[in-house]
């Protein structure tokens, strides 16, 4: 029997409408940098943490630090960071702009690969981080609202931002004495 389903037309319509495009990669690092800092050239800022700094950041943020994960650049008017966290079982890559005052200016999701939870791309959810700085409450349910249906992704990105702000405060804003 031939299924008399009107919805059969929907897939066909969708195929016709959707031109293939790069999708799980929403923004490249370069695109995010241009979006956040315009055309200015950024200086790579090596983030080399001493064991003491790593311990201090982990203590402060309550999350683990993975060496080499965080990449940083210095701009004339702030800092540009690219970092990654595990969502449920795959990596979410994101970019963060900090102002010269150490406050979050913008968060952009660069890559999201999992089947569920990509709602963290929602601009209003991301905007919750704007203005947050080290010392502010940056936790799900305490300063940041979660996304039901993307619980782990929203929780882990929040943890990542808290770790980034701690790293900035401990290792970048107060650089170690010159050796």
């Amino acid at each position: 029997m031939i299924p008399s389903s009107r919805l059969l037309f929907l897939p066909l319509a969708a195929i016709a409408v959707c031109a293939p495009a790069q999708a799980t990669v929403y923004l490249s690092v370069d695109e995010a940098q241009k979006l956040m800092f315009g055309e200015q050239a950024l200086m790579p800022l090596p983030v080399v943490l001493t064991p003491e700094q790593t311990a201090a950041i982990e203590q402060d943020a309550g999350t683990k630090v993975y060496p080499g994960s965080l990449r940083a650049w210095k701009a004339a008017d702030g800092y540009f960071f690219v970092d990654a966290v595990i969502g449920k079982h795959d990596l979410i890559t994101y970019a963060v702009a900090l102002g010269a005052d150490g406050k979050v200016r913008q968060l952009e999701i660069l890559e999201y690969r999992e089947a569920y939870g990509s709602e963290v791309r929602n601009p209003r959810w991301r905007a919750q981080f704007n203005g947050k700085q080290h010392g502010d409450s940056v936790r799900i349910g305490d300063g940041i609202q979660n996304i039901s249906g993307a619980t782990l992704s929203s929780e882990h990105i929040t943890d990542g931002i808290r770790r980034l702000l701690a790293t900035y405060a401990i290792a970048i804003a107060q650089p170690p004495a010159q050796r």
């Binding site: 299924p3 969708a14 293939p20 790069q22 929602n122 959810w125 039901s148």
Partner: protein
Amino acid sequence: MKIQSKSGRNQSGVKLLIAAAVLSASATAAADPAANSAAVEQQLEQKVDEMSQQLQELKAQLEQLKAQNQALSQQQQQTQQVVQQQAAQQQAQPPPQAQTASVRGSSLFDNLSLWGYGEVYYTRPIHEPNRTEADLARAVFGIGYTFDDRTSFNSEYEVEHAVSSASDVGEFEVEQFYVDHQLTDWATVRGGLFLMPFGLLNEHHEPTNFYGVQRNFVETLIIPSTWREGGFNFHGNTDIGIGWNVGLTTGQDLSKWNYAPEFPQYITALDMEDNDVAPLQASHQELALANASHLAEYAALSYTGVPGLNVGAAAFTGNAEKVAAPPNAPINGDQRITLWETHARWTPGKFDLSALYAHGSITNLAVANASNPGSPNPIPSAFYGYYAQGAYTVWQNNTYRISPFVRWEKYSMGSRYEGSPGPILPQGFVPVSANPGDYGYWPVNHDRVWTYGANFYVTPHVVLKADYQSFQQNSNFSRFDLGLGLGF
């Protein structure tokens, strides 16, 4: 230092040379003292002048060399510094491969992801403690594979009740098995066996995602969980927070409906959840040689544009494989199953509030039900349920979190019957299983339940749970539960 000592040696050598020259000149002069003395003196003076001039030139050249040497050594030092700086920078920056998550290597494992979840229950009916049970309710392992930036595969395999064999109660199931291919930022096509986007729980059924030891009854009996169908769908979400999902799937099969159970199909609340007794639980096919002569269609919409808010609705409809026709009474027309639901969840700060309503219907049952008179289990024409739930995080420290909750729910697995007055249940204290002496009351298929409990998160991935459930109709179902759940 080196340069100075060298030039010193050179200078002393030059002095010796001059002295020797002067001596030899004076010796020549002595040979012819009278006539040539004046001329010789002049020659000598001239030579000394020449030599001292040469000496000056040499001195100047040496000074030049000295300066050049110093400059070179400075340059060398600077180069060394630059090399050291560069080395430090290279150390600080991981190699390019480690930098981007998108770079996938050639190894199989680079594209593979593994995950899992599971839950263990202890459930004690307080009025019938002899029916207390402990169960490794489910152990699930997931395998995913990323083919390229836009194409991935996900699957989940589940063992229910720990041991699966012909003589045991357990089951081994493929819970999900699908391929996603992303078309644009907001649209993905999915094909295979996948979870239906209904309610708050079905797609997010890991124990860390819900309150209470067991899943709520509405999203177990009215929306069957874990509800999956084979087929394909298109889904996605937009920047403003609208999620959408439309699909064409396998439908339900009513042909194996059990009209004449000898004993109640469930005598505890846990049985009721586990034994596939509710209308959609009893008729869904889970892509196990599913009858696919009728297909079903569904559509779901959700909105998560406001942080902390999730509202949504979904509807499913499709013709079922019909109930076996009674002799001499053909069933004309189709039997269509429709299910719709709407839900909302709001998580302001430490609160977690949710509510859901679900309603199902099955058409054209008059002949089928009428030909099974007196059945304790006719097929319902309508069934529904709803709940409201509130949780509050009272304490949080590091990864620890305690969230007590309360839930009120109402479910009816049969609120309307065609061709039947409804289930005809044996009254009183009756045998409820094949075990001799096992007596009880035949339970009714609708109830109102209060649940009070708490989730204690050890980490966001590991949760300990406790709750008490009070049933108003089947009061023998009232129970105390403990649970351990995890997901990674």
